[in-house]
């Protein structure tokens, strides 16, 4: 048992730190630190910076142009990225679709789509959830009917993250309505510019436009855009979800968030003393810190056990539940810390209200972030679904 990094791992961490110091533009990290939107252009710029270093696709095998990092390397990168307030890598194409194409896609699909992903030529979004199919994803109804060389797609997807920027969407569609739900689903790649597709924004409660509804009305999709076999889409979807859950614990985000809370609480005065010296607030911070330290080690134990490039099983569900609880608790601490200054609000959704706000601690919109991050325990398989998986596997013996 050795809790410290090896010399190689430490050298790698130094390399990542140097990269963040030299290559991460300050205006970008400032935006992330204050919770601002990076926008499509900014995000693509960060992707290009990572790609020039060969770090845009950490989880891909080298033969596809990836970095092929092991789990510990990926963890180190994520931790350093969060500490330096680097933008996240937009995961839909690079972390979610790509592993599916690499495992189940045709040679033509791999040769065409994977290089384009690294070059930033496509922005992918995910067409999974529907208004009636959230936690119960397998009940999805969007229909694809084969007609000659095309599928004709009709239906609706929702919660499509950053779909407003996307030119491509990977979708789960129903190709056989007459069999068991999971056995009639296919995995299709759809060009967002095809006639019959309409994207409508959903404004979230913090005023941000992150997610969308996507409507399909007689949309023609070439059959070569089917991934793998028809009606085998559920298998690919489950495979994808295991990749969606890497970095699920969000240790780096939590550590960065906790540091911010402490910084605010040292400056904020309460009853003539720094808030950090207030026993009730200090106890709240300590409680979260104790949980986070343990979870960071759980996270390392689990990712060390996972094979390089592989994904953990039921432990990922445990990390998701605990990780989101901790992140949300830190968001709660941040809003408490700033006191009455939690109330002001700049919203891009409300016209003319993008005014400069009073922000004495340079904390950013902490209350808006508190509300926005309520999503963490809802998306990617809600915490209720994760608890169901944990109970089923651990109590019922086997997945």
């Amino acid at each position: 048992m050795d809790l410290s990094y090896t010399d190689e791992e430490l050298a790698f961490r130094d390399e990542v730190r140097a990269f963040m110091r030299d290559e991460l533009p300050k205006e970008m990290s400032d935006k992330i630190r204050l919770g601002d939107e990076l926008g499509k252009e900014g995000q693509e710029k960060w992707h290009a910076i990572l790609n020039s270093k060969g770090w845009l696709a950490p989880n891909w095998p080298k033969k596809f142009g990836g970095a092929e990092w092991n789990a510990v390397q990926r963890h180190i990168f994520e931790e350093e990225a969060a500490a330096h307030h680097a933008p996240r890598i937009v995961p839909f194409g690079l972390s979610m679709l790509a592993p599916v194409l690499q495992k189940f896609g045709s040679k033509e699909q791999q040769d065409y789509w994977l290089p384009r992903l690294l070059e930033g030529k496509d922005w992918w979004c995910q067409g999974y959830s529907e208004p009636g199919a959230g936690s119960d994803l397998a009940s999805l109804k969007t229909r694809a009917v084969r007609e000659g060389d095309h599928y004709i797609v009709n239906g609706q997807k929702t919660w499509t993250t950053l779909g407003q920027h996307a030119n491509m969407i990977f979708c789960l569609v129903r190709t056989d309505p007459d069999v068991k739900q999971q056995e009639g689903i296919s995995f299709l790649l759809i060009d967002m510019n095809t006639p019959g597709i309409e994207v409508r924004p959903i404004i979230l409660l913090d005023g941000t436009h992150e997610v969308n509804e996507v409507f399909f009305d007689d949309v023609k999709v070439p059959v070569e855009n089917l991934v793998g076999e028809e009606n085998k889409g559920w298998t690919y979807a489950k495979y994808l979800l295991t990749h969606e859950r890497t970095n699920i614990a969000g240790v780096g985000f939590s550590q960065a968030g906790l540091n911010t809370v402490k910084r605010i609480a040292r400056a904020e005065m309460a009853g003539g003393k720094p808030l950090m010296a207030n026993p009730h607030f200090a106890a709240r911070v300590a409680q979260v810190e104790i949980d986070l330290k343990a979870m960071a080690t759980s996270n390392m134990r689990i990712i060390s056990a996972a094979a390089a490039g592989g994904a953990p099983g039921v432990e990922a569900s445990m990390l998701k539940v605990k990780g989101t609880i901790i992140r949300q608790e830190i968001n709660d601490l941040a809003r408490r810390a700033v006191g009455p200054y939690a109330m002001p609000f700049a919203s891009e959704a409300i016209e003319g209200s993008n005014e400069a706000l009073p922000d004495p601690h340079e904390a950013g919109p902490v209350a808006a972030q508190y509300f926005n991050n309520r999503k963490l325990s809802i998306f990617g398989g809600s915490n209720e679904i994760q608890r169901g998986i944990i109970a089923k596997v651990m109590m019922g013996g086997g997945q």
Binding site: I203, L205, G207, R335, P344, F345, P358, R374
Partner: protein, 365 residues
């Protein structure tokens, strides 16, 4: 003991609830939220006509209520409908300060719906400490900065606290002044609030005002006691809406072929929310019913309520969103606004921890 509302209060509650149900729908409110001034004058006037403002004042002050339960009834209904018009800051806090300072004409105007006030008391570093006043007054001129002043841009007059003598955190030596909105040296920088309405940073640079009282702390502590109780009642109303929406959703939303409320994992959490609702209601009754008791007893009950509502409110807001799922994250859905009202209430008049500490201190006294 009798926990029934009096006939007059019952009538006020009924007419207010009916008006808000008919005239203050989610769509209407969402439209008001986007207005540049953050409120609807029409709603303000009509609610004044219904007696909402009059109920906040005693007969001697020109109203027809003014007791704890009059105010609790009004604010619970405003909270239930997620009303964003500034009844708390303009009418209750501003109006009752003026009433305590015998500004009879302005109180009359307020009850009639023709006046807007703002109370500029909190400062950038005062957090929740009511006696923390750095803004100075010298030769009748006010200098300083006030933070997160609710309704400042809409106000005809600002009530400004200033330190006439003593140290920054002393209770003695705080005076209150009435300042006209167009007074020279007054700067108001406004912004929207997360839970609706607007506030501002207010800068005073040699501003002249009319002295209201030299014993500002005594007036403020009485009025803030009322306001904190009213805030608890408002949050209780909002929590009731969140609980009702969640209960309805669990009964209608189907996944895996059945209503999600039939899953025990959710049903038990709904039960916990309902239990906390009863606790919250009783805490508000304790606060409203002890308003006329001696200060220590009054404030213990108020701090108890604010702490309990802070805890129960967080549980209900977060659990309501979680059990709804994605739909509750959307701005246009009623629960999103209601959850923001509940959570942001923790940032007014002292948060959960502030009132826990105050309760401990008062218990030891």
């Amino acid at each position: 003991m009798n926990f029934d509302l009096t006939e007059e209060r019952q009538m006020l509650q009924d007419s207010l609830r009916r008006y808000l149900r008919e005239k203050y729908s989610t769509a209407t409110r969402n439209e008001i939220l986007e207005r540049p001034n953050g409120m609807s004058e029409e709603v303000w006037t009509q609610l004044a006509e219904l007696g909402v403002i009059g109920a906040m004042f005693t007969e001697e002050q020109g109203g027809f209520g003014g007791a704890g339960f009059d105010i609790a009834v009004v604010f619970e209904e405003l909270g239930r409908a997620g009303v964003i018009e500034p009844f708390m800051d303009s009418a209750l806090i501003g109006g009752r300060i003026l009433a305590a300072c015998d500004k009879t004409d302005l109180v009359e105007e307020m009850i009639g719906g023709g006046l807007q006030l703002a109370v500029a008391h909190g400062e950038p570093t005062s957090r929740y400490d009511m006696s923390h006043v750095r803004t100075s007054v010298d030769g009748g001129k006010l200098n300083g900065r006030k933070a997160v002043v609710m309704n400042a841009e809409n106000a005809d007059h600002l009530i400004v606290s200033a330190r006439a003598s003593g140290d920054v955190a002393d209770e003695a030596g705080i005076a209150l002044y009435l300042v006209a909105k167009d007074a020279a040296g007054l700067t108001i920088q406004g912004y929207p609030l997360l839970a609706g309405g607007r506030a501002a940073e207010v800068t005073l640079d040699g501003v002249e005002g009319e002295l209201l009282t030299e014993d500002g702390f005594a007036v403020l502590s009485d009025v803030m006691a009322l306001a904190t109780m009213a805030q608890c009642a408002e949050t209780l109303g909002a929590m009731d809406t969140a609980t009702r929406l969640t209960n309805d959703y669990l009964g209608t939303r189907k996944q895996f072929g059945r209503p999600i409320g039939t899953f025990q994992a959710l049903a038990h959490r709904m039960a916990d929310m309902l239990i906390e609702m009863e606790q919250a209601r009783s805490a508000v009754i304790n606060a409203a019913g002890n308003l006329r008791e001696e200060t220590r007893i009054r404030d213990m009950n108020i701090s108890a309520a604010k702490n309990l509502l802070g805890r129960a409110g967080r549980l209900i807001a977060e659990e309501s969103i979680q059990m709804h799922g994605g739909i509750a994250m959307t701005q246009e859905y009623e629960l999103a606004h209601i959850a923001k009202r509940i959570t942001m209430a923790d940032h007014r008049f002292g948060d959960t921890d502030h009132h826990l500490e105050r309760f401990i201190a008062l218990s030891a006294a």
